[in-house]
Amino acid sequence: FHLGVTPSVIRKRYNMTGGDVGLLPNNSQACAQFLEQYFHQADLAEFMQLFGSSFAHHSKVDQVVGHQGWGKAGLEASLDVEYIMSTGANISTWVFSNAGRHESQEPFLAWLLLLSNMSSLPWVHSVSYGDDEDSLSSAYLQRVNVEFMKAAARGLTVLFASGDDGAGCRRVPGGNHTFRPSFPASSPYVTTVGGTSFKNPFLVTAEVTDYISGGGFSNVFPMPDYQVAAVRSFLRSAAKLPPSSYYNSSGRAYPDLAALSDNYWVVTNRVPLPWVSGTSASTPVVAGMLALVNDRRLQRGQAPLGFVNPALYQLRERGHGEALYDVTQGCHLSCLDGAVQGQGFCAGPAWDPVTGWGTPNFPRLLRALLE
């Protein structure tokens, strides 16, 4: 049994062995979050001392882009760094920090400008950021979406947390409820990561949905070609669907995949903290794994993964269905009203809008993505 998620629990659940660590000096990964938080190198060192004995790892972030002040470490900043370096073990890691920004700056926009201004960047980016789609102008949404296209054209893999509101909920004019998609999770050009829990929270067992796992359909971006078949299959076969007025069934559907998002241990300000949850936890875990896949691809002289969604949605038809554990049990939350009674979508076979294709079975995923 275990008392919460640590790197060894994650590596055990996703079948990562001691040999699944980075070997190349010129591979790299990065995390970014925009809550003006700092992380402390000393926390990372302590975290690795406590939890990193079963695998080779770096104990230091190699590069911090932006301000790194001297304030208290933030929970989210600490979590991002500690877990991307646990699955993306022994890989050079950058942190994009916006603490101490100019008071009229938009931190997320500033990060996008950095991507457009740096010729050498890590290949994989884990980003804990999300806003309600309906709180952003269409000009902004469309332009930011083009920025993600630019990143994909350069071979960057950009992952976003799917959010912690389940399907979300808002009241539309007239008083009815509808689900509330999150952005950039709803961009067709990013890889969006949902969340799961262990079926038995104190054992390394199968996973079920984490009820907070963000997921649904964009009201702005049409469904991209690469996921039409998978989503159509879900909409056709789902045992139970919310009323169609609650979501845009022709919109970009997300998440794309998921990982554990419940009850993490994090070291922050020298103190190990339990019960830390959210898709901000699952996103760096997946990001680290994809950085490790890049490590192997680069060793073979292959290109890095780049925008991974087309490959991800082809895995099953190419006979690599085992690359992901299919999470088929549980639903996520949504509007508390008579129509949906707090329930959004429910997980089902193959792709679903709660956990996507499921959670990584690393060795099989590696084999599939090396092909």
Binding site: G4, F34, L35, E36, E76, L79, R101, H102, E103, S104, Q105, E106, P107, F108, L109, L112, L113, S116, N117, M118, S119, S128, Y129, G130, D131, S135, L136, A139, Y140, Q142, R143, V146, M149, K150, A152, A153, R154, G163, D164, Y189, P201, F202, D225, D262, N263, W275, V276, S277, G278, T279, S280, A281, Q302, A303, G306, F307, P310, A311, Q314, E371
Partner: protein, 182 residues
């Protein structure tokens, strides 16, 4: 003028307290998203380099090649620079892909540049931001050259994804902290 972001909410999110309009000489930083070229070609290219079945899978662009694909047209660059210089805005920096401009200027200049905007300070906990509670406009002949102007309406992210989920547990009355795990 034209309001590029007419549908952008300008209200401050809950918790941000208005602290008055900033002084006319207060320095603000604006980010101009310049209209790019070649976005349709860019979308086709992304599809080709990201699909394992495509012969061009993995053939990614360098930053310079990306710039050549998306950089704004000379007309866009000239029109925007002339507009900025016309208002005395000199302190700008661009990015390698030339499709963003970050400019510093006094608030009074920004309010002339973007009619309708007013720059106010807002406070929350120890944080302070300067935003405009009123929509901005740009001259009509700029509308085809500027996607949007950042630094006016969107507040820093509130989603502390981790703590909210935790806070949710806190907020649910009667549910002991560890029950969710149980």
């Amino acid at each position: 003028g034209v309001a590029p972001e007419r549908d952008q909410p300008c209200r401050p999110p809950p918790g941000w307290v208005p602290a008055g309009r900033v002084s006319p000489e207060h320095d603000v930083q604006l980010t101009l998203a310049l209209r790019q070229q070649g976005t349709a070609r860019l979308a086709r290219l992304v599809r080709a380099v990201s699909d394992p079945r495509s012969p061009r899978y993995g053939r990614f662009l360098s930053l310079e090649q990306l710039r050549d694909l998306v950089q704004p047209s000379p007309a866009t660059l000239m029109t925007v620079l002339k507009w900025l210089q016309g208002h005395g805005v000199e302190s700008c920096s661009s990015v390698a892909t030339l499709d963003f401009l970050q400019c510093h200027m006094p608030a009074s200049t920004a309010e002339r540049l973007l009619p309708g905007a007013e720059f106010h300070r807002y406070l929350k906990d120890q944080r302070s931001v300067v935003r405009s509670p009123l929509p901005y406009t740009i001259p009509k002949d700029l509308a085809e050259h500027v996607d949007f102007v950042g630094g006016l309406h969107r507040f820093p992210a509130e989603r502390n994804v981790v703590s909210r989920a935790w806070a949710k547990e806190q907020a649910e009355p009667g549910q002991p902290h560890g029950q969710r795990a149980a």
